[in-house]
């Protein structure tokens, strides 16, 4: 199973998470988002960028609770709350946003 980006083939697992993290690009993010029926706006990107920075620094994708707490701190309570985050990513802010961000499924998601 694979995504097609500008003629390149990028492998993903049965749930849609890409297998080689370094193959991620913004174009790919848009393609994964489209497959998930997520229309990427500024706030979606803020979450995706936050996840990528977090992974870069700590080598893990944060659990949803940690994600929301951190977004609340960096972007304020209007964005960093459960309800709004689920509006942005209906299938779970950590799970779905991590997929779009090209990261592994968050630790603790079973």
């Amino acid at each position: 199973m694979a995504y097609e980006v500008n003629g390149a083939t990028i492998e993903h697992d049965e749930e849609g998470y890409i297998t080689t993290l370094s193959e991620w690009s913004k174009e790919l993010a848009d393609i994964i988002a489209a497959a998930e029926s997520v229309d990427m706006g500024e706030e979606h990107w803020a979450v995706v960028n936050f996840l990528r920075d977090y992974y870069e620094e700590y080598q893990i994708a944060p659990a949803v609770r940690v994600l929301i707490k951190s977004i609340k701190k960096s972007m304020g309570p209007e964005v960093g709350n459960n309800k709004y985050m689920y509006e942005l990513f209906p299938y779970g802010p950590a799970k779905q946003a991590c997929k779009i961000a090209g990261l592994p499924k968050p630790t603790g998601c079973v």
Binding site: Y54, Q59, I60, A63, T107, G108
Partner: protein, 136 residues
């Protein structure tokens, strides 16, 4: 969520990369942190190497997960007990370990150190004080 909060201690005794124990322990801690229990970690024997600075796993083809210990504060895991004698027996000091901090929500998010240096005798007291002790 259960009303009863139990004290969990994860005991780490092995070097980080020779076996899978260290990484698995960390994974269990991160998953377990979702259950709002009182979680502490202990590092003794070769386990103290898990927290050392400047780890480089390039040549062994394994993921360097040492940065993840610095995320523990985000998961409200803020007590990392390190045994003094184990450090000394390996020629290490606190300066050889990563700087791991947490933000204290009750103190205007002040950054405080998570690593607590304890003697072997104090470590025994830490262990005796737990409801559940898990060894890795």
């Amino acid at each position: 969520m259960s009303e009863t909060i139990k004290k969990f201690l994860y005991v780490n005794r092995k070097a980080p990369y020779g076996t899978i124990y260290a990484q698995e322990s960390l994974e269990v801690v991160l998953i377990g942190a979702a259950f709002d229990q009182d979680v502490s970690l202990a590092f003794l024997d070769d386990g103290v190497f898990q927290l050392t600075k400047g780890q480089n796993t390039k040549e062994i083809g394994l993921k360097n997960f040492s940065a993840t210990y610095r995320a523990l504060g985000d998961y409200e895991v803020t007590k990392l007990y390190v045994e003094k004698e184990s450090l000394e027996e390996r020629g290490l000091t606190l300066d050889d370990l990563q700087n791991i901090e947490y933000e204290d929500e009750d103190d205007d998010y002040a950054e405080k150190p998570s690593i607590r240096l304890v003697t072997r005798a104090e470590m025994a007291d830490v262990m005796a004080d737990q409801d559940v002790v898990l060894s890795f």
